[in-house]
């Protein structure tokens, strides 16, 4: 988006900001050098959004949607879930959620949906301003909530909505399912052409498919560096560094970024540099991050020598998206997006977690039970029991929301975490 003259403005803005030197924490290893580059990429992305209206068509997209197709038409994409995470990290969850609750949305509704609707009603956001969509693009491979949420937005703003429906995978994916999904893509193309005013190009599509697949593969390699001990990064880093593969996938910048990140991590592995000063136990995380606790917890765990080295959540963008294949772009896209963890059966999830526990040599599993996200949280007690029986892995279940800290009980969670540490330290 060089055309918008934003880089110069962005640089100016950066110059005006004074850099606060960060005190090194004795429990953490040296910070990742790439973090500055990441901040620049993401700030730039959000910053450009202020000027994009009119220059490019704008689409709001769910995190699991096949965005590669939209990239062909040069859509500028906004990820409300990523924005929700940003609001969560900045501790704005309750404030923005309540804007939706004021209009009658129930507090049991996913807090990403409440933040997004609250933002739509009030304009509140830490990102300056988000551009209004020309298109809402929703895929139900992550949950059914997104369907109703996007319908609401579509109704509220009178903006067209495209839904990509992915049949749930109960056992094995069927040919008829693939055909059903491919036919939806075929129907979408003329609509996308009309909304964007741009023509579909097969050549461009294949290129974007390759970029998406490569970015997902490279992200997978980034995560795999944590198989080493000490792990060169923690899952708390990965929660932040996953932003490009989620929201800039299919653009060259995401692939470029993961290449330099991978290089830095491989270098750290070679030199034996760990993300925390003393990695004594290795943990796995299940579910979305608790965004408002990221910093506190990364320190709490590091102090005790506990390092999270794997998460089903960060893994979700490395697991299936690399199935994308320019040889069969539509079929591979159907496969890649319908087999994601939340659209797949419990047995699959169990086997996936078993494999990760072995590969990453996990000593303990922390399961977050999240009222916001029912599809992610269902079955967790069975998973905990079965993994315990099969692998003897110690598991802790905690309850929290990823952004709305009104239901967070600091003291209770702290006691549970500490008891879990004591259990593993014995």
């Amino acid at each position: 988006m060089k055309d918008l003259g934003a880089p110069a403005l962005f640089r100016l803005q950066q110059m005006q900001k004074k850099k606060r030197p960060r005190k090194p924490n004795p429990h953490l290893g040296p910070p990742l050098k790439c973090a500055d580059r990441l901040r620049e990429i993401m700030t730039r992305h959000y910053y450009l959004s202020r000027f994009v209206k009119g220059a490019k068509p704008v689409a709001w997209v769910t995190s699991g949607a096949p965005v590669e197709l939209l990239r062909v038409f040069d859509f500028y994409t906004v990820y409300p879930e990523n924005h929700g995470a940003l609001c969560g990290a900045q501790k704005l969850g309750p404030e923005i959620c309540s804007k939706a609750e004021d209009r009658g949305y129930h507090p049991d509704l996913c807090s990403y949906a409440r933040i997004d609707l609250g933002h739509a009603f009030s304009g509140k956001t830490p990102a300056g301003r988000l551009p209004r969509p020309d298109l809402l693009f929703c895929c139900n491979n992550i949950c059914q909530t997104v369907l109703y949420w996007y319908k609401e937005l579509s109704h509220y703003w009178d903006v067209p909505l495209i839904v990509f429906d992915t049949p749930f995978n109960f056992k094995d994916i069927q040919e008829s399912d693939i055909r059903y999904m491919v036919s939806q893509f075929e129907e979408m193309i003329p609509r996308l052409e009309k909304i964007s005013g741009r023509k579909f190009s097969d050549k461009r599509f294949k290129k974007i498919i390759s970029l998406g697949s490569e970015a997902s593969l490279t992200w997978g390699r980034v995560l795999a560096t944590m198989k080493h001990s000490p792990a060169p990064m923690t899952i708390f880093d990965a929660f932040v560094h996953m932003a490009p593969v989620v929201s800039l996938r299919g653009l060259p910048v995401s692939l470029d970024y993961y290449r330099i990140l991978l290089e830095e991590l491989e270098d750290r592995v070679e030199k034996g540099i760990g993300a925390i000063a003393k990695e004594e136990k290795r943990l796995m995380w299940d579910n979305i991050a608790v965004w408002f606790k990221l910093r506190d917890w990364s320190l709490l765990f590091a102090e005790r020598g506990f390092n999270f080295v794997a998460a089903t959540y960060t893994n979700a963008w490395a697991e299936t998206i690399h199935y994308l294949n320019p040889e069969s772009p539509f079929e591979s896209m159907a496969r890649a997006y319908s087999l994601v963890i939340l659209n797949n059966n419990m047995d699959h999830r169990l086997k996936l977690m078993e494999g990760m526990i072995r590969d990453y040599r996990i000593d303990g599993l922390v399961i977050l039970s999240l009222r916001s996200c029912k599809p992610y949280s269902v079955g967790q007690y069975d998973i905990r029991r079965l993994l315990g029986e099969r692998l003897g892995v110690k598991t802790l279940v905690i309850e929290a929301d990823m952004t709305d800290f009104r239901t967070f009980s600091e003291e209770q969670i702290r006691t549970r975490l500490e008891a879990f540490f004591e259990q593993l330290e014995e």
Partner: protein, 261 residues
């Protein structure tokens, strides 16, 4: 002689146990925590020391536990009440496999191994359902002293089920039952059942238990114990002072850490 102290600061009561090097309980003290944790700790510790006839500097190692553990600056180590209840219960009843602690603001079920170490645990989440607090609020509604509440429930001949697990909603349910002239003991029995079903749910998440020990103040409530034993189909170990099990576990850890250092 070396001495060790365990201090358990709970939301309702604070307990101190002093042990000698042979694991003999030299003294203990229990008092209400109230609004000032520091004062409660000083007072209870002072009491336990004077009962033992010891000066404070005779304590070689102090472990603090309970939700107020972080506010005890002079403790040599802080350990969660989960590990401490496990250790205390194992010490008193070595065959214990499961510890059920129904406390003032939270309840927990802990699975332990043959050495008193925690294998797994479950706790109630964020709400007073299934805790001592629930029973206390309800005793208040009936204007019955909490110590008599359990005994009253035993008089019931026809238990009335309470459908709401929320303390606030259950209270209004109780008030409407009272208004309908339902016998108090039948309602009270239903309230005890409500607490026990919540706790039983936690028991099942950590696995069907072998020998069970109960700790915490609610272990003194016969209404709860009888219903739990009904589920378990076997008697529960209960110490004469079930409230001090956390502090006892803390004192045992104090000794362990003193010897290790």
């Amino acid at each position: 002689m070396t001495y060790f102290a365990g201090i358990d600061v709970g939301s309702l009561t604070t307990e101190v146990v002093i042990l000698d090097k042979d694991d003999r309980m030299v003294s203990y003290a229990i008092s209400a925590t109230g609004a000032n944790v520091t004062e409660a700790v000083e007072h209870t510790l002072g009491q336990a020391l004077s009962r033992a006839g010891l000066a404070r500097d005779r304590l070689n190692f102090i472990v603090a536990t309970g939700y107020g553990r972080i506010t005890i600056p002079f403790a040599d180590k802080k350990i969660t009440e989960i590990s401490c209840h496990a250790m205390g219960a194992h010490h008193l009843f070595p065959d214990t496999e499961t510890v059920i602690d129904i406390g003032g603001q939270d309840s927990k079920v802990i699975r332990i191994d043959g050495e008193g170490k925690v294998i797994d645990f479950a706790m109630n989440d964020k709400c007073a359902a299934g805790t001592g607090r629930f029973l206390e609020v309800m005793a208040g509604t009936f204007q019955v002293p909490i110590d008599d509440f359990g005994a009253l429930s035993l008089k019931s001949k026809r238990e009335i089920p309470i459908s709401s697990i929320c303390t606030v909603f259950a209270e209004s349910e109780v008030i409407s039952l009272i208004a309908r002239n339902e016998p108090a003991e039948d309602i009270i029995r239903g309230l005890h059942r409500s607490v026990v079903s919540r706790v039983w749910g936690m028991v099942q998440t950590v696995g069907v238990p072998g020998p069970v020990t109960m700790s915490g103040g609610v272990a003194k409530n016969p209404g709860v114990v009888i219903l739990l034993e009904e589920h378990l189909k076997k008697p529960i170990h209960i110490h004469t002072e079930p409230q001090i099990i956390g502090a006892l576990g803390a004192a045992l850890f104090a000794k362990k850490h003193f010897l290790r250092d």
